[in-house]
């Protein structure tokens, strides 16, 4: 099905199942510990041996020699695979650094060997006996230093965020010089780690030249083809499965070392191998969100009209890598005739930078939305009013392109009312609750909509059950449930009559999970397949497909009504289709919007910040399941609090690694950090995006949160911190005397 004209009325509009806050259908499995994750397929691979990863302990250089003798002699060892044993491997389209390094070492903890043994304990012990002699090379680890000579560089996040090396509209410099009110400020965001709870894990089992791989991956199709490419075998020899994913946040968009090493280890051992990357390796072995240095300049008329806006960002990555596209949102969020965005990319020999939830947008909005707060203050305007004043309903760089739906103003106004924004004192440092300096902050949320081709197969069984098969993944987003709701709505059956099977390369290729494109794309693919199935059913039952109403387990037209199951009486009906996208996304700027409101307390003694209240108001098209969509948003808000207050991969510039590489050193929020969170969805349905009229929400919920926290801290203390995370030492010396 090609979606190239805005959706008219369709069966989804009935909203009898879609749009209802039903409990997740995978809930009983997840809460009872019976949903099988990557490392848990002992039934399918009962005799699996255990793999353990050996990571490089230098950041840059060469392996002079590897001594495997002691490890080979170690009890239980079956095989050890290094680059030498593995032979020539290909490199996946989505990987910057090699997943099995050696003799060249490209980054710290790059995998150099996998040790396979009978038991986990034996594999781990033997891995400790692998002796590697290195020739250490000089690496580039200092972003600030390397950015001084870094070239302009455009880029794409693989998740819908992209920007050129330099984009200009009008004459920024002249307009900025002429503006009566100006802001010129620099912001920094640190390297961040996805820190998903399930480690990177895979089980590989070869049968002859065919490989079965259970893994934890957001994008079956990408992982599948990159594994084939890496192993130099045809794709159709690999079955790539990921039915449950214990969190990804962009870290599991791509093929990673666990899958490759499990496959190589299994080949070497001659039996299935299971492998989970040890936690202390994850931060440096896998990808991370790159640090940014951002300069924002805004020029305004005295009435608050933005006349000039510039956002320049620098980040670093391994050779051949991509920039963090932090300026992307500034191209579209606010009006202004004269504009400049630019990115620089430095070459660093730190681990690979890549997509993490809202890549580009999250750090970009962390900076931009502080800048907007600062500018509002310079103008003496309320930051909500300043944002509203500079709203635009068109693409500021191409005014002929309208936003399909843009309800930012409503999000801000509705949020301000609900949050009690009017109680905020515009003069910072005035509100106090015992030892806590209290402040409120706001930020816009903004993230573009993206759609990918997505397919599904739908079966109507003889028992009337509908089964959906697609390689779509559920990474905690609720895919199982919204796909079931979609199929139920389309086929006119209750959700409990729908079976959803996901995450298997033997199923039709879907959009996968990333860039908040998953929900809208995958359900549209299921919609398309259901349309085809409805036609088959109608034909079987002698209905005209366009007249037939599918409802209540029956198919009805005129006075005639037949049980849906009757269509499959002689045998299962199977339909497959995919959704493909026309150029509506070019004609219209399709985006999601929101407003984040945060109240913080800053300890007047210690400078520590704690979040007291949070509200998000979101406009993201039709909400397919308000319960699971709300969870996406509160989860993103939680990650935003982490980014604002504590998350930072600490770079050791001498050794070239992230030194706090475990979950004790890299702090993410815990229960005690997060108050009750309010989420409101505006009633919206965007007919230009898909037959589902739904857009994504998982990244929108993160965009702007950090800045809302930062702005609240400023409102509490009167000290502006532009360097994330906002830990106590960044404002302690400027806080009021404690007495």
């Amino acid at each position: 099905m090609k979606f190239d004209t805005p959706a008219g009325t369709n069966p989804i509009d009935r909203m009898k199942v879609v749009g209802k806050p039903i409990d997740r259908i995978d809930g009983p499995l997840k809460t009872s510990g019976t949903a099988p994750y990557a490392y848990e397929h002992h039934r399918e691979a009962p005799d699996a041996a255990y793999g353990y990863v050996v990571g490089a302990t230098i950041a840059k250089g060469r392996v002079r020699s590897i001594d495997l003798d002691a490890a080979r002699q170690s009890p239980g060892v079956i095989a050890i695979v290094t680059a030498a044993e593995a032979g020539k491997l290909g490199q996946g389209n989505f990987n910057t650094a090699k997943l099995l390094g050696g003799p060249d070492v490209d980054h710290y903890h790059q995998a150099l060997a996998v040790v396979v043994a009978e038991t986990f304990e034996q594999a781990r012990a033997a891995a400790g006996l692998v002796r590697i002699d290195y020739a250490r090379g000089d690496g580039r680890f200092d972003l600030d230093k390397e950015l001084k000579t870094a070239p302009l560089h455009g880029g794409n996040s693989d998740e819908g965020s992209e920007s050129g090396p330099e984009h200009r509209t009008g004459k920024f410099e002249a307009a900025f010089d002429a503006a009566p009110v100006k802001l010129d400020a620099t912001y920094t965001t640190p390297d961040q780690s996805h820190a998903m709870m399930e480690p990177f894990a895979s089980i590989a089992a070869w049968k002859g030249d065919e490989l079965q791989l259970w893994t934890s991956n957001q994008m079956i199709a990408w992982g599948h083809s990159d594994l084939a490419k890496t192993l130099n075998i045809p794709k159709d020899k690999i079955r790539f499965m990921s039915p449950y994913v214990g969190g990804g946040f962009g870290g599991k968009l791509f093929l990673r070392a666990d899958a490759v090493l499990a496959a190589l280890g299994a080949k070497g051992a001659g039996r299935p191998v299971k492998l989970a990357m040890q936690r202390p390796l994850i931060a440096n072995n896998t990808t991370h969100r790159p640090a940014t240095r951002q300069r924002i300049r805004i020029g305004c008329e005295a009435d608050g009209t933005i006349t000039a806006i510039a956002h320049e960002s620098g980040s670093g990555d391994l050779p051949g890598g991509e920039p963090e596209t932090a300026v992307n949102q500034t191209e579209l969020l606010y009006a202004g005739a004269n504009r400049l965005t630019a990115m620089r990319l430095a070459v660093l020999d730190l681990p690979e930078g890549n997509a993490m939830r809202a890549p580009g947008e999250a750090p970009g909005m962390m900076a931009l939305e502080i800048a907007i707060d600062e500018m509002a203050e310079k103008l003496g305007m309320d930051p909500v009013a300043f944002r509203i004043k500079n709203d635009t309903q068109v693409d500021p760089m191409k005014p002929e392109r309208r936003f399909s739906e843009r309800n930012l103003i409503r999000c801000l106004e509705d949020g301000a009312k609900r949050f009690g924004w009017s109680k905020r004192n515009a003069t910072p440092g005035q509100m106090r609750d015992g030892r806590w300096l209290v402040g409120m902050g706001v930020a816009a949320a903004f993230r573009n909509h993206l759609a990918l081709t997505s397919g599904a197969r739908v079966r109507l069984g003889q028992d009337g059950r509908v089964t959906v098969e697609t390689d779509m993944t559920d990474i905690g987003t609720g895919s199982y449930t919204i796909i079931a709701q979609t199929a139920a709505e389309m086929m006119g059956v209750p959700v409990d009559r729908v079976v959803v099977k996901l995450g298997d390369s033997s199923f039709p290729r879907s959009a996968g999970s990333g860039g908040q494109f998953g929900a809208g794309s995958a359900t549209s693919g299921v919609y398309a397949a259901c349309v085809t199935l409805r036609e088959a059913v109608a034909q079987k039952l002698g209905f005209n497909a366009t007249d037939a109403v599918f409802d209540d387990g029956k198919v009805r037209a005129g006075n005639r009504s037949v049980a849906l199951a009757d269509a499959a009486r002689e045998g299962e009906l199977v339909a497959e289709d995919k959704i493909e996208w026309g150029d509506l996304g070019k004609k219209f700027q399709q985006s999601t919007f929101g407003a984040h409101f945060v109240e913080v307390g800053v300890d007047a003694f210690t400078g520590v910040t704690r979040v007291r209240r949070m509200l998000a108001v979101c406009a993201a098209g039709r909400i397919l399941n308000p319960k699971s969509a709300r969870s996406q948003v509160i989860g993103a808000m939680t990650m935003g609090v982490g980014g604002a207050l504590m998350e930072e991969l600490a770079v050791d510039k001498r050794f070239g690694l992230f030194i706090n590489h475990d979950l004790a050193g890299y702090e993410v929020p815990v229960h005690a950090d997060i108050p009750h969170q309010e989420v409101v969805f505006l009633d919206e349905a965007d007919a230009t995006v898909s037959p589902m009229k739904a857009k994504g929400i998982g990244e929108l919920g993160l965009c702007g949160v950090g800045a809302a926290v930062a702005n609240a801290i400023y409102n509490a203390t009167g000290v502006r911190v532009r360097d994330y995370p906002i830990t106590l030492e960044k404002h302690l010396d400027q806080l009021p005397a404690y007495a």
Binding site: G33, M197, G246, G247, Q278, G476, L663, A672
Partner: protein, 200 residues
């Protein structure tokens, strides 16, 4: 595995030759130790490498994979189980230290068909997303309500001589050893409050 049961736990001096045997023969031998304990009401006997953690014994040897390995270092709480009614990180405990203990895992609390009230509350309140930390969260949640009832103090109590009430702030502090990167905290607190209220 061979040499099963050669090593016995007991008084000092009873252990000899316990270093795992390494041979160049194709058959590699491993020193094991027996352990007898109860898991989810079932008596279990295993003979395992003494290095085996309670977590790996459950997951790899008893195939009770509901208990999760998130970090294997006591930094995330995904491996939380109840031992003799008390929650611990099963990753930081050797299984041989659990001779005669009674272990309850997520599988022992309820099944998909017959969920424990806390499991059902998590489903109702969407107290999870990816589901990986969830069994640990639920085991902790059950234990936290019990700890409050037993009068175990917490960091957020204004007066530690008193018994705490299951307020939102108390629940959040006591649950803080269970990290949820998906960020389901707000919903988990509500699921727990519902169960605590129903109990009260």
């Amino acid at each position: 595995m061979t040499r099963r049961g050669v090593l016995t736990a007991g008084a000092a001096g009873a252990v000899a030759g316990g270093v795992p045997v390494s041979t160049s023969a194709e058959r590699r031998e491993m020193a094991t130790m027996p352990v007898r304990f109860e898991v989810n009401g079932k008596r279990r006997e295993l003979a395992l490498d003494p290095r085996t953690t309670l977590l790996d014994a459950l997951r790899e040897h008893l195939h009770l994979t509901g208990t999760k390995k998130g970090c294997d270092h006591g930094q995330c709480g995904a491996c939380t189980v109840l031992v003799n009614g008390v929650r611990i990180n099963s990753c930081l405990s050797l299984v041989v230290q659990h001779q005669d203990d009674k272990v309850t895992t997520i599988e022992g609390l309820g099944t998909p068909e017959k969920l424990h009230p806390m499991q059902a509350a998590f489903v109702r309140h969407d107290g999870y997303q990816c589901g990986y930390c969830t069994p640990g969260q639920i085991c902790s949640a059950v234990a936290v309500l019990d700890e409050i009832k037993r009068g175990v103090p917490s960091h957020v109590q204004a007066d530690v001589t008193k018994t705490a009430r299951p307020t939102n702030v108390e629940l959040r502090e006591r649950m803080s050893g269970n990290i949820c990167r998906c960020g389901a905290y707000s919903n988990i607190a509500e699921a727990m409050a519902e169960v605590a209220g129903a109990k009260a």
